[in-house]
């Protein structure tokens, strides 16, 4: 047992920190810290900065232009990036589609699509969820029917994150209606400029526009956009869902979030004393910090295992559940900390609203974030689904 990082790892951390200090624009970091919506150009700009340094694709092999970092290095990068309030890398092309194409795509697909992900030519979004399907992903209904050199796609996807910015979508579609649920699914790449594709915004409960519905009406997709074999899409989707599962606990975000709560609580007063000295509030902070310290080590244990090349076990599901709950509790603390000033609504949708809405704690819209982050325990396989996976593995599904 040794809980310390190696000298090489410390040196790597110093490199990352120096890079962030030099290259992360302060106004961009400030927007991230305050939880403001970033523009498409801002997200693309940060991608370009990382790409110029060769750090945009931490989990890609070098042959495809990645860094080939191991799990510990990736963790160090994520931790430093979160502490510096760097924008998150948009994961759909880089973390999701990229690894699938590298493993299951043909050479032509790899040569065409992968460089375009790195240089920002394409913005990908994910077409998995459907209305009524939810966590029961395999019940999806979007149909793709072969017609000569094309598939004709009809159906609807939902919860498509940042689909409003995307020009490409990777989709799970049903190509065999008669097969068992998981066996008739294919993995298709669809150009969103094709006639018949329509994107409609979904406004979330905090007023934000980050997800969309995507409708397909007789959309013609060339057959060369099929990844792997027809009707084998479920295998690729599962690979995508289980691949790249480090960082699921969101430890860096929680650490940054907890620091923000403490900063607010030092400035806020109750009965003439700083809120952070109030027994009840201090205890709330302490309980979460204690959980977070333990989870950070659970996270490192999982990372260490992955870095040693061991097969992932249940860590991903466990970290998803624990990590999401801790992040949500930190959001909860932040809204408590600002007291009555949790109530004003700084909507990105209301022009000039951020200039008139009071924010004496310089905290950003913490109550809106509290509501927005209820999604953490719902998406990517809800916490109920994760608990089901853990229980099934532990007890064989009761059989």
């Amino acid at each position: 047992m040794d809980l310390s990082y190696s000298a090489e790892e410390d040196a790597f951390r110093a490199d990352v920190r120096a890079f962030l200090e030099a290259e992360l624009p302060t106004d961009l970091a400030e927007k991230v810290r305050l939880g403001r919506d970033l523009t498409k150009a801002e997200m693309e700009g940060w991608h370009a900065t990382l790409n110029a340094r060769g750090w945009l694709a931490p989990n890609w092999p070098k042959a495809f232009g990645g860094t080939e970092w191991n799990a510990v290095q990736r963790h160090i990068f994520d931790e430093e990036a979160a502490a510096a309030h760097a924008p998150r890398v948009v994961p759909f092309g880089l973390s999701m589609l990229g690894p699938v194409l590298q493993k299951f795509g043909n050479e032509a697909q790899q040569n065409h699509w992968l460089p375009r992900i790195l240089d920002g030519t394409d913005w990908w979004c994910q077409g998995y969820s459907e209305p009524g399907a939810g966590s029961d992903l395999a019940s999806l209904k979007t149909r793709a029917v072969r017609d000569g050199d094309h598939y004709v796609v009809n159906g609807q996807k939902t919860w498509t994150t940042l689909g409003q910015h995307a020009n490409m979508i990777f989709c799970l579609v049903r190509t065999d209606a008669d097969a068992k649920q998981q066996e008739g699914i294919s993995f298709l790449l669809i150009d969103m400029d094709t006639p018949g594709v329509e994107v409609r915004p979904i406004i979330l409960l905090d007023g934000s526009h980050e997800v969309n519905e995507v409708w397909f009406t007789d959309v013609r997709v060339p057959v060369e956009n099929l990844v792997g074999e027809e009707n084998k899409g479920w295998t690729y989707a599962k690979y995508l869902l289980t691949h790249e599962r480090t960082g699921l606990g969101g430890v860096g975000f929680s650490q940054a979030g907890l620091e923000a709560v403490k900063r607010i609580a030092r400035a806020e007063t109750h009965n003439g004393k700083p809120l952070i000295e109030n027994t009840h509030f201090a205890a709330r902070i302490a309980h979460i910090e204690i959980e977070l310290r333990a989870m950070a080590t659970t996270n490192l244990r999982a990372i260490s295992k992955a870095a040693a090349g061991e097969a992932p076990g249940l860590e991903a599901s466990m970290l998803k559940v624990k990590g999401s709950v801790i992040r949500q509790e930190i959001n909860d603390l932040a809204r408590r900390a600002v007291g009555p000033y949790a109530m004003p609504f700084a909507s990105e949708g209301v022009a000039g609203a951020n200039d008139t809405v009071p924010d004496p704690h310089d905290a950003g819209p913490v109550a809106a974030q509290y509501f927005n982050n209820r999604k953490l325990s719902i998406f990517g396989g809800s916490n109920e689904i994760q608990r089901g996976i853990i229980a099934k593995v532990a007890m064989g599904g009761g059989r």
């Binding site: 029961d136 109750h270 109530m343 609504f345 008139t356 009071p358 719902i378």
Partner: protein, 356 residues
């Protein structure tokens, strides 16, 4: 012992519930949320015509109610429908202050739905502390700042707390008074509030001191608890419906025991919340008032958070969308904890009062 509402209160409850069902649909409410004014004058007048505002006042003040249970009945129904029109601050707090001060002219206009009021007490930096009043009253003029004042931008008059020497008192300020500046903004859970700056603003003393202020805030706590209860009832009902109709893996999700038990817990906690509101309304005017209100506000804060979060979680993605009823209701429930002292604030109060 009798836990039935009186005939009059039951009629009030029925009438109000029917009116809001007919007039305050999710679509209409969402349009109000998006509107410039943040409230609907037609709804306000409708509520006044039904006698809902009058129910918050004693007969001696031109009303026909005014007791703890009248307040609870009204606000539970407003909460159930997610009403954003600011009756709590604009009618109950400001109105009862003016009734105590004998300003019957304004109270009559309020009960008739003809005047808009605001209640400006809490200040920046004061959090929920009731005696944190730095606004100064000097020679009939007020100077200071007030934080997150509900409905301030639309109010014809503001009831404002200020300190004259050591004494905290309440004052009446007209909206067009000199040196009054209001910057208003929308609220996350609907309606609008404003930051109020007074700079030598002429004001009329109402002859009400700190004790009167505390009594008014106590009534507000009863109302806020009842409003949160109504919203929780809606959240639980929506969730119950959803669990019985939404199918995944080929069966209604409510048949999964993991969800069924959590639903059962919500129903258990909802009964706790109902009892806490009955305790609050029933103990107004007794020597148990202070401790009971603190206890109820703590419990409503805890159960409210549980109900809001669990209702969203058990619904899944649909509850995250603005247009679905639960989104607004959940925000009303959680934001109720940010008014008149949160659960931690009232826990401290309860401990102090219990030790005394």
């Amino acid at each position: 012992m009798n836990f039935e509402l009186t005939e009059e209160r039951r009629m009030l409850q029925d009438t109000l519930r029917r009116y809001l069902r007919a007039e305050y649909s999710t679509e209409r409410r969402n349009a109000i949320l998006d509107s410039e004014a943040g409230y609907e004058p037609e709804i306000w007048r409708g509520l006044a015509e039904l006698g809902v505002i009058g129910a918050l006042f004693d007969e001696a003040d031109g009303g026909f109610g005014g007791a703890g249970f009248d307040i609870a009945v009204v606000f539970e129904e407003l909460g159930r429908a997610g009403v954003v029109e600011p009756l709590l601050d604009g009618a109950l707090l400001a109105g009862r202050a003016l009734a105590m001060a004998g300003r019957q002219d304004v109270v009559d206009a309020l009960i008739g739905g003809e005047v808009q009021l605001a209640f400006a007490h809490y200040e920046p930096g004061g959090r929920y502390d009731l005696d944190f009043v730095r606004t100064a009253a000097v020679g009939g003029r007020l100077s200071g700042r007030k934080a997150v004042v509900m409905h301030a931008g639309a109010a014809d008059h503001l009831v404002v707390s200020a300190r004259d020497g050591d004494e905290i008192g309440l004052y009446l300020v007209a909206k067009d008074a000199a040196g009054l500046d209001i910057r208003d903004y929308p609220l996350l859970a609907g309606g609008r509030a404003g930051e109020v700056v007074l700079d030598g603003t002429p004001a009329e003393p109402l002859g009400l001191g700190y004790d009167a202020l505390c009594g008014l805030i106590d009534l507000a706590v009863v109302a806020q608890c009842a409003e949160a209860l109504g919203a929780m009832e809606t959240a639980v009902a929506l969730t119950q419906d959803y669990l019985m109709t939404r199918k995944q893996f080929g069966r209604p999700i409510g048949t999964f025991q993991a969800l069924a038990h959590r639903m059962a817990d919500l129903l258990i906690e909802l009964e706790q919340a109902r009892s806490a509101v009955i305790n609050a309304a029933g103990m107004v005017g007794t020597d148990q008032q202070a401790a009971t209100l603190a206890a109820s506000k703590v419990l409503m804060g805890r159960v409210g958070q549980l109900v809001a979060e669990e209702a969203i979680q058990m619904h899944g993605g649909i509850a995250m969308t603005q247009e679905y009823e639960l989104a607004h209701i959940a925000k009303r429930i959680v934001m109720a904890d940010h008014r008149f002292g949160d659960a931690d604030y009232h826990l401290e109060r309860f401990i102090a009062l219990s030790a005394a």
